[in-house]
């Protein structure tokens, strides 16, 4: 089995007359964790949605390589893209609030390939997130914010993905939980050998686990850091994030 990666080249996207992305190119190589950094409204989520087929780019191309096979993602339906092995933990988590924790996890395994691995993956989820095991019969809507984020991550892992996109895992969480969630993502990534693209506002937390990152400003890639040092020392980031 060879690797799983994503290559986005020169995509443009707009909501009606409002331009959201302009000529964005980005690459996530096999086994990497890439951070997509930017404050609210700069196009992070739109880029994620383009990759997942939720928003259709007006120009440009998006290719994914899954276990060595190359797929053109533009024009495919979201469910077909997910079925390739690309999972998104969406903004706002989007759990099924009136289903139990366990039912939410089982829905994650809807994909045919994932059904075969259900027992393993569920045991893995409950091991990684013991709170979810305790609350397996509780409705997802009654969980705390941190638990909901864990469930959203767990549900995405039940899909048995090769590539995991995570949109703002830290949003709405207390600082200590942000740290734990980021650590957990790193741990899961290693255990599952995932390729990860993570959109995040919390720069300092994101670059703890990222191999490299992109800074997106007003729908354009403003800076590409080939290492975390480069990101740390970048003027733009110092100005926007660190207030230096």
């Amino acid at each position: 089995m060879s690797g799983s990666s994503i290559t986005v080249s020169g995509i443009h996207a707009a909501y009606g007359a409002v331009r959201a992305l302009e000529d964005v190119s980005l690459e996530v190589k096999s086994g990497e964790t890439v951070a997509l950094l930017g404050t609210n409204g700069n196009g992070k989520s739109t880029l994620m949605k383009c990759i997942m087929g939720i928003v259709r780019p007006s120009a440009g191309s998006i290719f994914a390589e899954i276990d060595g096979r190359r797929h053109d993602l533009v024009g495919r339906s979201t469910e077909a893209i997910v079925d390739l092995g690309i999972a998104l933990v969406p903004e706002g988590r989007r759990l099924f609030p009136k289903l139990t924790v366990e039912e939410n996890l089982l829905l994650g395994a809807f994909r045919r390939i994932a059904r075969a691995q259900i027992a393993n993956n569920r045991a893995f989820c409950f091991e990684a997130f013991p709170q979810l095991a305790e609350r397996r019969r509780q409705l997802a809507g009654s969980l705390s914010g941190g638990e909901q984020q864990m469930l959203a991550l767990g549900r995405a892992l039940m899909l048995a993905p090769r590539i995991l996109l995570i949109d703002e895992p830290s949003v709405g969480l207390a600082p200590i939980l942000v740290r734990r969630t980021i650590d957990k993502i790193q741990q899961l990534k290693e255990q599952y050998r995932l390729t990860v693209l993570m959109a995040e506002q919390n720069f300092t937390q994101a670059i703890r686990i990222a191999d490299r990152g992109y800074v997106i400003v007003h729908g354009r890639i403003a800076f590409e850091g080939r290492s975390t040092e480069e990101l740390n020392n970048n003027d733009l980031i110092r100005k926007f994030y660190l207030g230096l």
Partner: protein, 291 residues
């Protein structure tokens, strides 16, 4: 004055049996309205269609009406899927399902009804089956087979539906589809396909409920209208989208109606059942087993 224990016991048993039948009539609405958010007020028309098909086959070939309905399940499933596809393409996809969708199902209700009137006239039709005459007696309790058989088959059907919804991948997706369609797509499931399957199942239950109806009482094309209010009441009373809740609510309503009809006269029954619904919702707004 002696308290009429025998009368009360028989009223309760009759109510239980009636409730079993109501559960079958409501099952389709619980799926379409309770789970999918599709206000299918044409459901009783599909039930009457089921009654007439049971009648035709029974009258011509002498096949048992409930058996006919089981044979007709695939056809009703396909019909339901087709109706959903039209509803989706014409209304839901454009976000116009609220009012126009309602009008669509109203239209469907009348077209089916008028179609049946044109073909069969307005005479009452009935079927023949070995269990329509006899009654089981346990001391002073009467169990008319005409009510008992539909009740038992209905409970079996509800059990199968509940197992399907909670134990299978498609079933769980059906429970999730109205909560968040995008999230469902992110699980690699196509929400339109899931809804089409669910609506197909919802209409398939009408075939069985239709056979029950014509076993229990003679049927003419507009008799389904009597059930529209009651069916939605049971669905809401049980808790939106909960099939066990639907069974409980159907049985409760059946018993309340039966007791009222026995002691105060049948014309009070609807008033008492809707009063019961309002009272329950005042204390449990989500219904008996609503999540």
């Amino acid at each position: 004055m002696d308290f009429p224990v025998e009368l009360l016991a028989n009223a309760i048993v009759a109510g239980l049996l009636l409730g079993g039948f109501y559960a079958a009539v409501t099952a389709g609405i619980s799926i379409a309205f309770g789970i999918l958010d599709i206000v299918n007020i044409a459901h009783p028309a599909f039930i009457i269609l089921g009654s007439y098909i049971a009648y035709i086959v029974n009258a011509n070939f002498g096949i048992d009406p409930i058996l006919v309905s089981l044979i007709m399940l695939p056809a009703f499933y396909v019909l339901g899927g087709a109706v959903y596809q039209v509803y989706y393409a014409s209304f839901e996809r454009r976000g116009q399902e609220a009012l126009r969708g309602l009008a669509f199902f109203f239209g469907l209700l009348f077209i089916t009804e008028v179609g049946l009137v044109l073909v069969f006239g307005v005479d009452y039709r009935y079927v023949e089956a070995i269990y329509i005459g006899p009654t089981l007696r346990f001391s002073f309790i009467d169990l008319p087979l005409r009510m008992l058989i539909p009740c038992l088959v209905s409970l079996l059907m509800m059990l199968c539906l509940q197992l399907y919804l909670t134990r299978t991948f498609i079933g769980r997706a059906i429970m999730a589809v109205s909560q968040d369609q995008l999230a469902l797509r992110l699980m690699a499931a196509d929400p339109v396909r899931i809804k089409r399957i669910a609506f197909g199942i919802s209409i398939a239950t009408a075939a069985i409920a239709g056979a029950f109806l014509i076993v229990i009482q003679p049927v003419e094309p507009s008799v389904g209208r009597e059930y529209i209010g009651r069916v939605f009441a049971i669905c809401v009373l049980g808790g939106m989208g909960s099939l066990p809740g639907t069974v409980l609510a159907a049985i409760l309503l059946g018993i309340v109606e039966s007791i009222t009809a026995t002691f105060y006269g049948p014309s009070w029954a609807p008033a008492v059942s809707f009063g019961f619904l309002l009272l329950t919702l005042a204390f449990r707004p989500a219904g008996i087993l609503g999540r």
